[in-house]
Amino acid sequence: MSIFTPTNQIRLTNVAVVRMKKGGKRFEIACYKNKVMSWRSGAEKDLDEVLQTHSVFVNVSKGQVAKKDDLTKAFGTDDLTEICKQILAKGELQVSDKERQSQLETMFRDIATIVAEKCVNPETKRPYTVSLIERAMKDIHYSVKPNKSTKQQALEVIRQLKESMEIQRAHMRLRLVLPAKEAKRLKEKLKPLLQVVESEDFDEELEMVCLVDPGCFREIDELIRCETRGRGSLEVLSLKDVEEGDEKL
């Protein structure tokens, strides 16, 4: 009666598998969890902290090691460490819990920072702080989408936040110069796009200084350029109309 004694079997725990298909074959390597992303971003420089073992597998969970021939055929080398590095850099992997968590957290912060940068409190014309925006985002239960750009999501967040708090995009201050002939007609068209008209001066040309939502800028620009055929002009006086300096209450 023989007793099965696995003397030379190495059990791998905490494995994150990185896979790559090359030359029609699938190769896998066994890594530690939460480490592959750090390696890819360059924060982790010690390869031994990433790889569980320097061997390349066909199937990690079954413990099948890749054949040397296949490796040389696919990678052109049989240096296992070199191959592991290639797979680490280009292979596909399952993101581990902490990696995902930290990624979402950074994105969440990033979105909040962008929102805080772009928006003001319409009553005081002062920006909100990032932490306040973060709290507001949590209040409306905003969930970050990892595959959408933070900027896009920020614009979406602003729209949603408007329902729960006093917030708006910081206005741009523009100066429009319109030739006298088209001025009247154009002004009618522009009116819905302009938030606040600060000054209006009509002698030979119509000169207006106004605040607009940054989202409408393209529209206004286009309108003026097309309608006046280049004789009107548009100038940005400030990108963000906010109060500057500290204020004592």
Partner: protein
Amino acid sequence: MGHTSLEKIISLQRNPANIRNLCILAHVDHGKTTLADCLVASNGIISSRLAGKLRYLDSREDEQIRGITMKSSAISLHYSHGDQEYLLNLIDSPGHVDFSSEVSTAVRLCDGAVVVVDAVEGVCPQTQVVLRQAWLENIRPVLVINKIDRLVVELKLTSQEAYTHLKKILEQVNAVTGTLFTSKVLEERAEKEEEKEKEGEKPSGDQVYDWSAGLEEVDDSHLYFSPDQGNVVFASAIDGWGFSIRQFAHIYSERMGIKKEVLLKTLWGDFYLNMKAKRIMKGAQAKGKKPLFVQLVLDNIWSLYDAVVIRRDKEKVEKVVTSLGVKVMARDSRHSDPKVLLSAICSQWLPVSQAVLSMVCEKLPSPLEMAAERVEKLMSVGARRFDSLPEQTQHLKTAFLQCSSEEKAPVIVFVSKMFAVDAKALPQHRQRGVLLKAQTHKLKTCPPTLSRLINMQRTRTDLVSLSANMENLTLKDSKPEEEEEPKETFVAFARVYSGVVRRGQRVFVLGPKYDPAQGLSTLPEGCSASDDVSEIPHLSCCSMENLYLLMGRELEELQEVPAGNVLGIGGLEEYVLKSATLSTAPACPPFTPLNFEATPIVRVAIEPKHPSEMPKLVRGMRLLNQADPCAEVLIQETGEHVLVTAGEVHLQRCLDDLRDRFAKIEISASEPIIPFRETVVRPPKVDMVNEELGKQQKVAIIHQVKEEASQGRSSDTLHLDSSGLVTLTTPNRLATVGIRAIPLPQEVTRLLESSSEVIRTLEQVNMSLREGKSLDISVRTLEAISDLKAQLESLLQGRKWRNAVERIWAFGPRRYGPNILLNSVEGYQRPSVWQCLSRGDKASEATALRDFDNSIISGFQLAALSGPMCEEPLMGVCFSVERWDVQSTAPPQHQDSVEDDSTDHEATAESNMEGSSETSARGRVAASSDCYGPVSGQLIAAVKEACRHAFQAQPQRLMAAMYTCEIMATADVLGRVYGVLGKREGRVLHEEMKEGTDMFIIKAVLPVAESFGFADEIRKRTSGLASPQLVFSHWEVISSDPYWVPTTEEEYLHFGEKADSENQALKYMNAVRRRKGLYVEEKIVEHAEKQRTLGKNK
């Protein structure tokens, strides 16, 4: 003594000679409020049984819970001394350092102060502070040595030891007074000498130096505390007893047949009683005899304590009781707690209120006796001398001194603080029915307040005031906002210095900057406050809606208040922020501002828990700002609402107030955001272990290029050469820019920063010039601009900066920051930014702007606004554009054919703008675009990127905001101060000793990032003996490189492989990056093997 009716107090108010305005000052926990309780009990407002336990003047809930006073509160007491009746306006003040501003407000309104010192602890830091405050305000102090019972019960001293102990404490207190006195004399002397020097009367002949320092000439004996002077009371407020020498002298002169005057002189001091000769002899100590004080005074008290508390000897107690001739109720003598019996005996034998109040009445001045010196000090603001004030103003001094309540006398009132009162608590809002109900309710629960309530009821039946109340009610009701919610109303804490204040009277409100000379010249003679005075700065009018008598927790309505009294004024919240001077005479100068011992120093950012409640928070903070004399509230450019308070306890109180009273919302307080700046420096000559760096630097750059190339970051459009020049081509390969980053000399940065206003106007002028408009510039601005230019030229010397000032392209960020864009493009003669200076020769302006000039500037502005390290603004960096090639071969094409969302929104926005304005100007020549978007937009992005890369090619450094920190500390805590400073990366600039005192003044710089909790730590470590002040001063480069890693052998040895031990700059940088959600080069898990293998749920 029975309770006093309101009428009585009103009648007493009319006699200023018998009014005493006093405050109780002491270190925290030395028994101010307990003493105040005893005094309040003497008027029957609270039961004497509860005196010392109730802490009647601590009306706030948190005051009661924490057991410390947090605000100054006033109460009017009646006391008959001899055949005179006195009115005492007593102000209890907090002792904690954080609330020393409240002490300032109290001290200002008083003529005298009762300084309380713990008999065990002696002179403490705050004792010194309050003595100094009393000194500075010229008010006369008297001393109460409190808690003598602790000497008996806790320390178990013998009466002889206690005597020496008390003597020591007295010496300590007098030492503090002495220092104050010497420093004042020295100061005066220094002033005199300065004056002499100014006059130029230098005695050239005699070189004899006067060493006497003038100290000997000035008599200071009246300043000191001494029992035989009658300005010291020994007391135990908790047990309800206290005495002055006078009382015992009185007793013993009868009993022993010694003259009272002799006893008064000898009872304190080194005298003893020779029993045989029945004479009092000198030199008790030398002969080993008991001093008189011990024998006659302390021994009696000691034996009483011994009998009652320590041995609890019933028979002896009875003997003592009968010998003292006091009556003790059976209930008290049977009580299990001996303290009850003790206080029952003591409060009859030596009532503390009697001792203190008689001392107050005798020793403290009445409002009539105000020192002329003090008046002058009050009236001369800042450095102005009293003599320089207008004549009419000087006449007011006599009004002050007379303190008359005549009709003609001008009204002068000083408001030292505003305090918030719940609108419901105001007498005119309390309705009768409710009051009665409350009374019956209270009667059941709280017997000691019975007398007070009856008293109140009597007041209420006063028909006049009642009708006035009704009137007021209807008046208030007509205001719609009043009905919305129970609002906080502000009552001004004030004192009448002259004249009679009446309800509804109109007065001038004098702001701190008001100049009586100006007011007098513009106002017609004899005008009153009801006239229109809108045109005079810092002067406004208001009417005093309501007048109140301050009775601790209660307010009583008054119709008029004559001079010399402390009162509350309602209806001023619109006109007075924190403190003000009110007067009917426009000639009256505003009083000198209160001098605060503690300046606000602890900063926190405050946010509402729910973002939608922002307006409520702002309103609440506004109210808080008004209600607290020391809190500061400001909104920063970042949108943060910052609250600055004097200390942690003060902060806690402000937050509680905000939460429960003013804003009524959930709030959270956090560390404020700390700004940083990014800059580049000259390449270092030595490495981290002071090894000479030779060619290594260049090697490092080459190394960097290689690294970037290998990591695939560098594309074929970006090229970095070894000298730090970055060349970048736009994605459509039409334009190429070459940019180099150069550190600006420190002086230049400082100059640019300080003259941002000038640069801003310069930019505006240039803008209008470019449009072809001519703007009229005043000569002064032109001068300022040319001045700036000259200064820049003088600072930018050397081969590298040749002709640099002329070549300045722009300033940034926001067109006026401390960074420069330099035009070093060969063959591009751009009109200089200084063109407004040379307006004479217009011919030079022929050199027109090249296309897309604006795009370069915009790119630079964007780059300067957020640096590559942690997206903070740059500072002190010069970007020199050395190459700029544009191939304008692309076919003209309509611009808006392509939408480009991927590039930075702002950049595109701006690019469109640039593009359009230029197309319009030149009839759409270069509106070329392709799949990469408009050229101008691409150029902006390219310039921005190039700037960032050029920045990164130089050694980068972080700049931290620095505070200058001034610390006053005594010599024995200097070491700890240095310890705290060192721990927080502070640097001591210099320290010097304050003349005539043992205080050191240390000046240091401290990074703002390290200042959170600094004040608290330094106070804790030095037990409150050092008080810091922080003021923002400048930006300073942090010398360590945030990206530094060891490269040489020696560095490995010194710093290890990771070198992450103490890199301050890296720490700051990562903190900012993490806050902003930028990528931080950090491992998620430090050690791969040390992760938990279990699943989440196990």
